[in-house]
Symmetry: C2
Subunit: 292 residues, 2 copies
């Protein structure tokens, strides 16, 4: 039988070599309707003293009270004297007022609920398809990577660039005034323990490539200079012509399914893997033209 099959195949014209498609090919092929714009009041724009800009997509779907706090703080100019003051290799970069406490602006809830996880009710989950050591199912919803836990509970996943709320040991001690982003490989143990308020979608390299802190816990030592933050704004409050705008690929679209499939088994790299980490298959985000 193998010989016969070989002969039959040889008798047919050789097939054209199929192009090996990359995840980027799937993203490029997405239609305009497959993309959703991130609302301007869910974009936080952080300008640094070195002239660089970091844009953070906020996650009210997971941490509504914390995100409301962040907006109040931004609008009150609360971070006017804030700095990036802690950088730990393969772990996090952290910023805020640091040596506070300062009095929170009116309206801030200083002891918000934990908000590490939420009910899956009302969410449409698109399964990712690979086994996830941190949950019973890796999935996507509303443009975010999530993990489904037993009991109908869902938490957002801590991947590279995720923004979380720094706090003391007690779970309710972080109001959002001190934030961190993941600059390392493996932070998923934070999923069910630290409130996740967003992710960096532009300028990540201005937080990840900073010198590592040499004092305790990776805080900058006396001979290191914290990086000053010059302003933190919500994009909706900026003049329309200056607002940065971004879109994400909708989890339910055919292009997204195609992307996840290709990104989970990278044939374009050679031997494909049976699956992939949830964080290795991030939701595609793209910048759109500045509003005219």
């Amino acid at each position: 039988m193998p010989i016969l099959t070989a002969l039959l195949l040889a008798a047919a014209p050789p097939p054209a070599t199929p192009k090996i498609r990359s995840p980027g090919d799937a993203v490029k092929a997405a239609r305009a309707a497959d993309w959703a714009e991130i609302p301007a009041d869910e974009l936080m724009v952080m300008d640094l003293a070195n002239g660089k800009r970091v844009v953070i997509q906020l996650a009210p779907i997971f941490a509504p009270v914390h995100v409301a706090n962040l907006k109040i703080m931004a609008r009150a100019g609360y971070w006017g004297r804030a700095t990036v003051y802690r950088v730990v290799d393969n772990w996090v970069t952290q910023w805020g007022l640091g040596d506070g406490p300062f009095k929170s602006p009116p309206g801030v809830i200083d002891r918000p609920p934990e908000e590490y996880q939420r009910s899956a009710r009302g969410l449409t989950l698109t399964p990712m398809g690979s086994p996830d050591p941190y949950s019973s199912m890796a999935a996507y919803t509303e443009g975010w990577p999530v993990a489904k836990q037993p009991g109908g509970i869902v938490n957002a996943a801590y991947c590279y660039g995720t923004v979380g709320v720094a706090r003391d040991a007690a779970p309710d001690t972080g109001n959002g005034s001190e934030l961190f982003t993941v600059i390392g490989a493996t932070a998923r143990r934070l999923d069910r323990n630290y409130a996740l308020v967003g992710r960096v979608i532009e300028g990540m390299e201005y937080l990840s490539a900073l010198p590592r802190g040499t004092a305790d816990m990776g805080v900058y030592a006396k001979d290191q200079s914290p990086l000053a933050i010059t302003s933190v704004r919500i994009a909706a409050d900026m003049p329309a012509g200056q607002r940065p705008r971004f879109e994400y690929l909708k989890s339910g679209s055919p292009a997204f399914a195609d992307y996840v499939q290709l990104a989970s088994h990278r044939r374009d790299y050679g031997v494909p893997s049976p699956g992939a980490d949830l964080c290795a298959v991030p939701v595609p985000v793209r910048k759109v033209g500045v509003k005219s």
Copy 2:
């Protein structure tokens, strides 16, 4: 029955609150015999023009021909004009001679075998215990994180700090003269496609915190300065008193099993996860005193 049990429990003295042990506690409790010294001829010491030092543990167990090449190159002073010239955020930092080709020193095999994977025969695998989307079993052997594939094949895993061989698209085009290390979150798709020659065990921050390259593919642009490498030596060739020395926790030791268990379900962080990424549970390595 529940009521009776409760009464019985209440009648007994309250148990002492158990201390929540961290993975570090398991490492601290390891006996001297649980540690193995890395041979001095498997340590590559790379000194940078800014005075910083990077130490790489070599992996002859996985890529013997490539590692032999690296030793010949180091001993021949081949990297005398090499630089760190490419840095891609959330991906890799790369170094070497870059704009070669230069003639390889005598003894270098310019087209080594692929060496991306090897037979599991002769290896003792210590299972890691969590599901791995990239293989049929995550495990450890001889101090390295590995993935078992169907058919008795094992490959070393590309985690943060792993050192691999840069190459063109053809699988046999890298002899080791250009190397990269993983500075990002998710590089496991390289496991079965790029030769793995080692891992950074000291000075990783001097490669991960460099400015990202702004030219094509993250190469440094004309207005950026590549970081010069002043010397690359094998520790065994250094004067005994100057050799850096390191030990790793043996995979088969009880302390290692305890460590893996604690690191896979971080109760010290709060709610433990059902498992963990292989790369989230790295083999503990420690520096030992400079030889007198």
